[in-house]
Symmetry: C2
Subunit: 307 residues, 2 copies
């Protein structure tokens, strides 16, 4: 099988590395960062953390690739997904499966402009990695991947999970992946947004009096919209899960904080809190809390002149 | 007449200075800051800015005062109003009028525990001053004061305005002072809260794309609750006023920013955005935007360990 990684940052390289290392599938990393591409091609992909390794693997720009893909794992930032799909459309035919593991919700609305629903596999992963310099990643935690074909093409979805498992990525086919996706969005839509906005660690946010009321209102809206959207969500269960997750991450500055505060980069807020606002509108459900959080994060992006 | 200023910060000293300087009324400044009291008693009150002056004026702690007051101008921070009323209760009898010029709303709910409604005069001022060191204020702008007796005691209210005018404070009796108060609260509840939260100048906030939507939602709630509360407010008129005010203040960091960001002090948010939330509850009107802004400012206070 030919597997492209479309967007080869920390997570893209992690998935590409694991599949390339452990299986016979051909892997090509696609990216736009020339130094990163050059380093990988000249010196191999260096892997630190859980796996101390260096492997030979192909890297190139999307326009330099030409063979049709069996599987494309899209791993760009959410806001660049549309541009990436345009850039790789020549690699896709009716046999190509797409796997989307991006944080947040609503990516399928973009993907379905390029492929049929039965070619789209949505997933959620708790693998964790960082890219500190071109050509070198650190895999911080062994994770899992849940995946489901959202066009009902279970056979194709299971084949995608098989490729991931050949790469020892601990994948499982999940008949209700939207539940896992919404649950993760709620973690991101509380911990990530609030720490980015208030410039604090997860633990600091969860220590302040006001956090309970804020989280409660945000999650209430997520649950109401999710249930209207056909995902079966329980508010108390979600709050408990967020609280548990926050304990493990208490000293952590989440990725949105890193983007907004440390790196002056645009955030994925429109695919997190903003996504529930958009879905809320289609169900005629008001989501004022998530709406203002979305606007405040955008306000901070503008003030920071985020790129 | 004996006039006490209860809370002799920048604005309290400004009003005390003007009345003492320009009229025959006796003025006593009350405060808790011992260096400030000592400096005023030893060296006089120094006035810079619009009036280059130094005058002899009495200053003391509330517990050191004993004569019953004809007029008490309360000028503490909103959150210390209750404590101040406790501390000066021995200076109040049935002939004492109270004038409250504090930023925000809802102070009358505190005052009416200590005096009858017809002893309460609410007002709004656009005099502006700063206190940079003990015993010395800078009066930055000549202002005006609108005042109304909220117990319907127009005669008493006009007498209060007369005393202010003897002090050349440009007062007028306003039969609809709540309109002016709500309008000012909306300015504070947009410009002040948002600049404190996002850590920017007024002009920077009004330059970002998201500001329009944020202000629109905040003001919508203020207007809805205000109208239910019997104040006749028009949303477009309020938005226009806020926008005009923001232009004049564009390079300014409002007082809430100064409190929260520069001085690590608690803010008056509960009497600004928080006040419309409380009033909204009594009218069964949801105010999610003002509620989350209130909570976020409190969250920042906690994170900054504000005193």
């Amino acid at each position: 099988m030919l597997v492209y990684i479309a967007g080869s940052g920390a997570m893209g390289c992690t998935i590409g590395y694991k599949i390339s290392k452990n299986s016979d599938n051909e892997v090509i990393l696609l990216d736009y960062w020339q130094d990163h591409i050059d380093n990988i091609n000249n010196n191999g992909l260096t892997v630190k953390g859980e796996f101390d390794d260096n492997i030979k693997i192909q890297a190139m720009k999307p326009s330099e690739a030409s063979k049709k893909a069996d599987l494309i794992v899209v791993m760009t930032k959410s806001m660049y997904l549309k541009d990436m799909m345009e850039a790789i459309s020549h690699l896709i035919d009716e046999n190509t499966q797409i796997l989307c593991l991006l944080n947040g919700m609503g990516h399928e609305e973009i993907l379905k402009n390029y492929v049929n629903l039965n070619q789209i596999n949505m997933g959620v992963t708790i693998w964790a990695a960082a890219l500190e310099e071109p050509g070198s990643i650190t895999i911080r935690d062994i994770g899992t991947i849940d995946v489901q074909n959202i066009g009902g093409n279970e056979e194709a979805g299971k084949k995608v999970a098989d490729i991931l498992n050949e790469g020892k990525l601990n994948a499982r086919y999940d008949k209700n992946v939207m539940y896992a996706i919404w649950r993760k969005v709620m973690v991101n839509g509380t911990m990530n947004s609030m720490t980015a906005l208030l410039e604090c660690t997860v633990g600091e946010f969860f220590a302040i009096d006001a956090h309970e009321r804020i989280i409660d209102e945000l999650v209430k809206e997520f649950v109401e919209v999710g249930n209207a959207d056909g995902v079966n969500l329980d508010k108390k269960e979600m709050l408990d899960y967020i609280r548990e997750t926050s304990k493990a991450a208490k000293d952590h500055y989440p990725s949105m904080y890193q983007d907004l505060v440390e790196r002056n980069r645009k955030t994925e807020i429109d695919f997190i809190n903003g996504a529930v606002v958009n879905k809320g509108k289609t169900h005629n459900i008001a989501t004022p809390y998530n709406e203002i959080i979305t606007q405040l994060v955008h306000a901070k992006e503008e003030l920071n002149d985020a790129k």
